[in-house]
């Protein structure tokens, strides 16, 4: 029954322990609404046919609702609404009270990506691995504007606010890949701020985590690269910070408003106008002076020209800095568009 309703209502798979609770109430409300709505529609229709005025003006009887009917008009819906409110609030408290033994994950929203980190490492961008059958507590915060962490299949949503933590918890019930969306408007790429939750069997999760700890394919470590920089590259970093380059370009491999600088130097980049270009000194310099000439595919042509704002020495330093940003290991797997086909069972 509930499976049928779920399909009729286009609800995604109920993949968390919260989802059936939310859905049950959802079905209760929807079914009641449709029964009463059909009743109202039918009543209106019957009245329309039965009492339709002919050409001559008929005199309608004088009638006023008796007091008991007026009370019923208010009382019956109120009873239903309060019942739903109470049932919903019960589930809401449950959904916002994480169990003590829950696994903590720190979630940081940032224009326009999600970062996940376990207290003892590792940290990931765009993919959150969780074990099934285990409560997971998310501690959300944001680094810029308000975002909202939303997993439709889990029926879970919580805003990530800058400067404070919010928390929510869920328990995935079966392995699979579930899409994460940002539900609070956060700017240009709001609609592309996606990530995914990968739910693994507890055993598989432990194996994954152990492997990640020993040889992280990619761990976030801002500030670590500083010690490795040469003097010119270090100066480039200062220039990048001062000129605001880092507001659009990341250093950690995540695409932002502009392409990431990590591993950029020497890479073959596809262009929006078709074709591709190798990101060498000439291209990087041109992009600073006339950014709209060759825009990398997938990015908006929004970069301002730095012609006249950067001295030759600064340009050199910047390029040296970008050169220094080579991933030590093979590049982290790009955040792929998750495959949302039927879930493997």
């Amino acid at each position: 029954m509930s499976e049928l309703l779920r399909r009729i209502l286009f609800l995604p798979d109920a993949a968390s322990s919260l989802a059936p609770r939310v859905d049950r109430l959802h079905f209760f409300i929807i079914v009641t609404t449709f029964i009463v709505g059909a009743g109202i529609g039918l009543t209106g229709l019957i009245f329309l046919v039965r009492y339709r005025r002919g050409r001559a003006e008929a005199l309608a009887p004088v009638m006023t609702a008796p007091a008991w009917l007026e009370a019923a008009f208010a009382g019956v819906p109120l009873a239903f609404f309060l019942l739903w409110g109470a049932l919903g609030f019960q589930d809401y408290i449950w959904a916002r009270t994480p169990p003590r033994e829950a696994l903590d994950v720190y979630v940081t929203g940032k224009q326009w990506m999600w970062k996940f980190a376990y207290p003892g490492g590792p940290g990931m961008v765009g993919v959150l691995h969780v074990p099934t059958g285990t409560p997971v507590r998310l501690l959300l915060t944001s680094r810029d504007v308000i975002h909202s962490f939303y997993v439709p299949a889990f029926r879970v949503k919580m805003d990530a606010l800058p400067g404070r933590y919010t928390e929510i918890w869920f328990e995935a019930v079966r392995p699979g890949r579930y899409r994460v969306l940002c539900a609070e408007y956060c700017g240009l790429d709001h609609s592309r701020m996606r990530a995914e939750v990968v739910a693994l069997e507890p055993g598989a999760f432990e194996t994954w985590r152990a492997r990640q700890r020993s040889e992280p394919t990619w761990a976030s470590g801002e500030g670590e690269e500083e010690s490795l920089l040469g003097p010119l590259a270090a100066e480039g970093r200062v220039v990048a910070a001062k000129q605001g380059c880092l507001q659009c370009h990341t250093l950690d491999g995540t695409p932002h408003i502009g392409p990431t600088w990590l591993g950029l130097y020497g890479r073959e980049e596809p262009l929006a106008s078709g074709g591709s270009v190798r990101a060498d000194v000439a291209y990087l310099t041109e992009s600073m002076m006339d950014p709209l000439a060759k825009v990398v595919a997938g990015y908006a042509p929004v970069m301002p020209s730095f012609h006249g704002r950067l001295s030759a020495a600064e340009v050199g330093a910047l390029i040296e800095f970008i050169k220094s940003l080579q991933p030590e290991r093979p590049e982290p797997p790009p955040v792929q568009e998750p495959d949302y086909g039927p879930l493997p069972r």
């Binding site: 940081t108 207290p119 915060t141 800058p162 404070r164 933590y165 919010t166 976030s220």
Partner: protein, 126 residues
């Protein structure tokens, strides 16, 4: 006009005297450092003063009906706004605000990397 004669200058002066007295009282009480009671007492005195001004200087005593309804409604909605916001905020689980320090002396131009943010959570677990 209605009741115009009743409100002589004497009455205005008497009410004015009371107002000045209450202001002095409020100031005096603030020197006593009443602790938790300071705000309620000060607001209470302010309310009395406001009622006196509204009633006598703003002619509310002469105008039953509409105006009193309006003032009462406005008062109720101020209480609703302040009250519900406070009720909600005081029930939040603290500390949802990560501990400081907030850079209070930030001047424009100093913030090169946008607004200041707390340390990443993996460095500073609460």
């Amino acid at each position: 006009m209605r009741g115009g004669a009743r409100h002589g200058g004497v009455q205005v002066l008497v009410v004015g005297g009371v107002l000045l007295g209450l202001a002095a009282l409020s100031f005096g009480l603030s020197r006593l450092h009443l602790g938790a009671w300071a705000v309620p007492v000060a607001l209470g005195i302010a309310l009395v003063k406001a009622a006196l001004i509204a009633g006598f200087y703003m002619h509310l005593t002469e105008r039953p009906g509409g105006p009193r309804l309006v003032v009462g409604t406005a008062g109720v909605f101020v209480v609703i706004l302040v009250g519900l916001v406070l009720a909600e905020a005081s029930a939040r689980i603290w500390p949802t605000l990560p501990p400081g320090p907030f850079p209070v002396t930030r001047l424009p131009g100093k913030d090169v990397e946008g607004p200041p943010r707390v340390a990443p959570p993996w460095r500073q677990p609460p």
